[in-house]
Structures are given as C-alpha cells and as structure tokens.
Symmetry: C3
Subunit: 305 residues, 3 copies
C-alpha cells in the first residue's frame, strides 16, 4: 500500500514521497524499512526520524523533513483507522464446530462462528456474524447487544450478593433478575457483572469496562462510559452517560454519578456526584478541592517538623 | 397464588383483599397487573401505590391503604422467602453428560447433574444432589462442604505465592497444602483461594466471598463471615467468626481479626484487630477515631487557607 | 527417609538422632509421629518441641534440645528444598488427550501432557515436557518462555484498552501487538495481561505475578520482579528488574520504576520512581517521608482536639 493511498483512506495529507510502499506498522524502536511509525507526541519525532521506518504518521501541527510523512489533524484517530490495514488476519472458521453443544431451541443467525466445546443452554439467540471462541458457555435465554465484545473470562449474570441475617446466619436472597448488555459494549477479561436481585443490571450501549472490574447487582451503567480496570461498584449504583472512571476506584451502593463526570484513579465515591464533575480522593470530592486539601496537609506537616 | 396463601408461607399478615392473585414479582418501576412489589424503604411507598402492581409487601410498621398489602415484621426476610415462588425454573438435566470425564476412582452421589465437558480428576467425591455446570474442572482428591456454591471462574486451590531468594532469583517453595471449604460457603465469580504451603487454607462454614476477592495461602477465615468484592488477604490471616469485610479492603499477612468485627470499605488493615471492632482507614483504626482524625484534618486544612 | 539423609540433601546439619525416619511434613499444630516440622520463627520453637513431631527443621542460630533437629543457615530455603520430597505425586498423563484439538500446524515437543478439551489454534509451539491442564485455550502463534507457569484463569493477550473519541463515542483502536512471556515467569490465577497496541507487552524472565493483578497494554515488566495480588498497571508502565510490588498497589500509565525498588501495599504511584527506592502512600513518595508525613498529621490532629 502506498503512503498516498493510506493518506486518502484516513483523510490525511502527504508531505514528501507519497509513492513509498508501506508494508507494515511498528513501534519506533523496532521499525524496519517499509514500516510506518506513529508519532503521537512531538518528543518522539527525533527518534522516529532516526529510525529505519520508511514513513511517519504525525500531527499536522508538526513540521517534518527527512522522511515522507502522513499528516493528520487527529493522529490518534488516524492511527486507529490505519491499524486495521496491517492487522494480522485471524479469520475464525465459519459455522458451528462439531463439538459445540447447541440445543434446538436456540436461534442461530447467519454466518456465525461457534468454536470447539462451546456450550449453549436453551433458548439462546445468536445474531448474524457473531463469533464465539472455543469453550464459551452461554446460559439459558441470553441475548446481548449488537457488536458487543465479551472477552475471555468475563462473568456476566453471576448471582448478586444478597442475604438476610437470621440468627447469625446469612440466608441467600434468590437472585431472579438479569443483566442487559447494550449495543457496542465491550467487557474485558475477568470482569464480573452480577445479575439483579429483581429487574435488571444494565450496561448501557457503547460502554467499555476494562479487566477485573466488578459491577454489582442492580447497577445501571449509562451509555458510552469508560471504566478502567479493578474498579468496584457496590449494588444499585447509577452511572450517567459518558462517565469516565479510572483504575481501582470504588463506589458505595445506591448512589448516582451524574453524566459526563470523571472519577479519578483510586477515588472512593461515597455519595452522589453531580453531572460534569471531576472528583478524586476518599471520600471523593471536587478534584480541585482535593488537590488544595492535600496541599494544605503537606504544608501543615512541613511546619510541624 | 393468592396473596393470603403467600402471606401464610412467609409468616406475614394481609391488609385488604387477600384473594388477589399474585402472578409475579417485579421492581416497582416495571410493575404490571398481577405483580407483587417490595417496599423495603418507606420512601418508595408512594410510587408503589401509584404503580400498576396488584399488591405490596411492606414493613408491618407502615400504614398502607389503596392496594392490598402483605405486612411483614422483617420485610427483607419475607422478600427472601417470597422470591423462590417466582424464580424461573432452570432445572439442570439429571445425570452425567456423555462428554463429561469422570474417572472410575471418583465417588458420585445420587441425583447429581454433571454438565457437558466437565473434567474430574482422580478420587473426587461428589455428594448427592450436587449440580456441576458445564466445563468445570475439579482436581484430584477434592471435597467441598455440603450445600457450598462455587460460582463461575473461581479458582480454589491455586498454588500459594511463596519463594525463597537465591542470588536475586525467586526459587519456588512447593505448595503442598490444600484448601478446606466448609458447609454453606458461597464463593463468587473469579475469586481466588490459594492452597496452603503446608496444612490448610480454611474457609469456614457459612462464609460468603464476593466477586474478585483474593484469599492467600494459609488464611483461616472464620464461620459466617461476609466478604465483599475486590478484597485482598495476604498470607496467614486469621479472621474470626461473623466478621464483615466491605469492598476493596486489604489485609497484611499474619494478622488476626477478632470475631464480630466490621472492616469498612477500602480499609487497609495492618495489624491485629480485637473482637467486636469497627475499623476503617489506612492504617486501620477504630472507625470513630478515624472519623475524628479525618474531621480534624479537614478543619486544619481550612484554617490554613 | 532418614533425617540424616534429608540433611545431606538440603545441606543442613543434624543435632540429635539422625537415624529417625521422616515420613511426612506438617504444620506444627497438626504434627504426628514421623513428621518433620518447620520452625521459621523462634517463637514457634516451644510449641514445636511440645508437638508430636519426630524432628524439627530450624535455623542454625537456634539451640535445640529435646527432639532431633535439622539445622540450616537458611531455614526457609531448606524448607523449599525439603517439601518436594513429600509433595503428593500428581503425575499428569503423558501424551495428547483424544479430545484435545491440536491443528497440524502446531509444533508439539517431546513428552508433553495435553489434557482433555484443550484447544490450540494454528501455529502454536509447545516445548518438550510441557504440561497443559484440561480445558486450556491457546491462541494462534503463541509461544511462551521455558519453565513458565500460567495458572488457572489467567488471561494473556487480551486486547489492550484503547479508544479514540469521536462525537462522544469510543472508537476501538485495533490492538495488533502481542505479549512476550520470559523464561521462569509465573502468572497466577485470574491475572490479566493485555497485548500491546503495537509492539509487545513484556513480562521479563523470572518475574512472578500473583492472583487478580492487571498488566495493561505495552507495559515492560523487568526480570525477577515480584508482583503481589490485586495490583494494577495502567498502559506503558516500565518496571526495572528486581522490583517488588505489594498488594493492591496501582500505577499511572507511562511511568518508569527503577530497578530494585520496593512499592509497598496500597501505594498509588503517579510518577517515575528512581532505582533502589522504597515508596508508599498516594501519591507515592519515599517511604520514610511518607511515615513522617503521616506521623505529623496524627500529631496535628491530636493537638486540634
């Protein structure tokens, strides 16, 4: 693929020789002849020019000379569009593997790939073009949104953790609700999403939840949220749309986080957060206040010595 | 099922028309005719009365008019007893699936259900009425308590993390102990319980451990404890009976937490905690002291501005 | 095995009767006749002598009388060498189980054990003497280091979490990199290691990562590191060799931790850490400074009451 063809595909502009052949992409430090490298930060420009790469993809704000370059207004976006051209093809075999167990009550769409030792229970619906890797288990009556991706080891629909106390014993409250996974949701490896006690735990369309996070029963997670790894939501938390939650944050049960809010890493959220907030600390508060608070403590501690 | 019949089953009393037919249960906001809804907090009473539900289950302390109601002294307990009547029946097929691998050295009780692609190793004992979902693996010589529930993806008996240092290398200490799971234990999804180096890691009867928690080698967890999600126990922690541990708490190795104690969310416990304590903070201390400490810091920080 | 023979095998010295027959090892509190017990701390010496054990393994610094003893300069190291003699033999069946799916493009070394319902994808290389437990899945083109141990439920090569924003939507950045696992690496249960966006996520030789930790895309973890449970690394963290990270610590993306550093439990590391550091707190700082800081706060808070 010529650099000029790639530029067209990702809506960028070429500086220098657009005829150069791009055979692959690589990190700057591993680049060889034929490679395109991505310069997402200006500080990497010099090493990119020094590398063996045949061309650079770089912000249109940057002046480049010495190698052919593909300029993009949004270089990260252009990278996202470039990578598929060079991704190794790992086509899954079409059809249902002979060892997969698919009860006749299941509805299976066109052009699916269902791998070895997959087990579906009764009345599962699998939409067209769905790809199910080997050894997956899908419980009775399950349906998930279009284009959702559930990674290896995630557990969706586990019983919620609910008990009543009786003479010092925990008596299990049957968990008869479900989980609703919207369209374009991505749930990463080993994430747990518990079913509702009654009603539904909801993961809104477009939301992405990274490895090892926990969403307890009856949470309502909004649309297009980004939830990073090792985050814990206690029961019945409501997250508005477009909320960003950084790693190892935690949430008390029965609270509401307003839309467009950002919860920083390791924040412990103990009560409602209004829309458009930026919070940190434990207990969570407005991030600027938390910064001031921490700075005051450090000043005070210094004086005392 | 008539409301009056249900009231009898859960030891409650009917106010209004006990003849009303209850066909299902639902969250208040989704209630339709024929549904019973649970009013666990008085603030939801008005919306419950406004809903399309045919009846309410509510605390006997609350005065209700407008809909038939089932009054209970312990409404959460009554809910726990009500739900099984309306839980979808998901009977597992009886017997051993033809693809399950069960060595002849295993002892299999009556009326078990062993699913597709299950693999048992040698000398495993499965008690009567046990239900094993598809794709489960059970290692050699395993036995767990009566009525214990091990959810999807939990890992019981992983090697403990133990090394000796030799010239900057970690030399593995063989982990030859085991894990003992008591009766009525519930271990949720993706929880890890490591085997003892020597002797046993113990999960006491009646203890419930929520998603993504970690119990290291040689821990002795007491009876009827409640351990919430993303909690981490380092090696050789001893937890007394009836301890409650909230989410994302962590425990240093080789410490003892006395019985009936409560460890609040995100607490970092660094040393022994006496029985009947309520602790929070990092390092953990008496919760009232921690609250005072945090309040003092906030007062001081305010003054300094 | 006689005590004197064991002493020879672990380079220790016998005090008392070296002819005593050692039939097993056990924790002190469970010891019976014929057992050897390990006294790794002097405070357990009295109970060890009181126990039914036939012999003790103890530091050569300790004076023992009353039972035969094996003295070792490094008793933990000697324990590590002793345990294999008494570990239950759990030989895996040799060969490829008839239900394992192994494409002809895979290279399978000598004397491997591949268990039931294992699925390998195309072009996987399995070295000689490798042991693969039942129900494992290995993706296309995978290779891991010599003597590496990957425990149950760990997920290596999950997509990195990477998106670009477009009109409030998260557009997935294809993750076309890989993961490189060095020799002698041990990855415990339910750990997640994400593949690089481009290039490689690296786990250096000799590094051990405990249960439920998360290593994000493009991290470069050094050699002989010890990473304990529930630790989270954001993307592109670089860890030098011989770093120790304690439980529930977390790391911002794109930072570097110098070699031989120690990161204490629950530390939140927000920026680069020089080599040979000992850090704690959130944000992480030199551990002595953090201790002073916390002590100052506690003094100040006391005064204010």
């Amino acid at each position: 693929m010529k650099l000029s063809e790639l530029a067209k595909a990702v809506s960028g502009q070429v500086v220098g020789d657009g005829e150069v052949e791009i055979k692959g992409v690589s990190p700057i430090e591993e680049a060889k002849g034929g490679d395109l490298v991505f310069v997402l930060d200006k500080k990497f420009l010099a090493s990119a020019l020094r590398s063996k790469a045949s061309a650079l993809l770089v912000s249109s704000q940057v002046v480049v000379s010495g190698k052919p370059a593909l300029l993009a207004d949004d270089p990260r976006g252009a990278m996202a569009k470039t990578l598929p051209f060079f991704a190794p093809k790992q086509a899954r075999p079409k059809g249902i593997h002979e060892t997969a167990i698919v009860p006749s009550s299941c509805k299976i769409g066109k052009d699916v790939s269902i791998g070895a030792y997959v087990v579906l229970e009764e009345n599962v619906s699998i939409g067209a073009n769905t790809l199910i890797y080997p050894q997956v288990w899908i419980g009775a009556n399950c349906q998930i949104g279009q284009r959702a991706i559930l990674h290896s080891g995630c557990r969706v629909g586990v019983d919620g953790y609910g008990y009543v106390q009786e003479k010092g014993k925990h008596i299990k409250i049957p968990q008869i609700g479900n989980v609703i996974i919207g369209d374009d949701v991505e749930i990463y490896a080993n994430v747990c999403v518990s079913r509702a006690t009654l009603g539904s735990t909801i993961i809104g369309s477009g939301t992405k939840i990274d490895n090892l996070s926990h969403v307890a029963h009856n949470c309502k997670i909004g649309k297009d949220c980004a939830i990073v790894s090792l985050v814990g939501f206690a029961g019945s938390v409501t997250l508005g749309d477009h909320v960003f939650v950084a790693g190892q944050a935690g949430f008390n049960g029965h609270i509401t986080i307003g839309e467009n809010s950002v919860v920083m890493a390791r924040t412990g959220v103990t009560k409602d957060v209004p829309a458009n907030s930026l919070v940190s600390g434990f207990p969570a508060q407005d991030h600027r206040k938390e910064i001031e608070f921490q700075a005051s403590l450090r000043r005070l501690a210094k004086k005392t010595r």
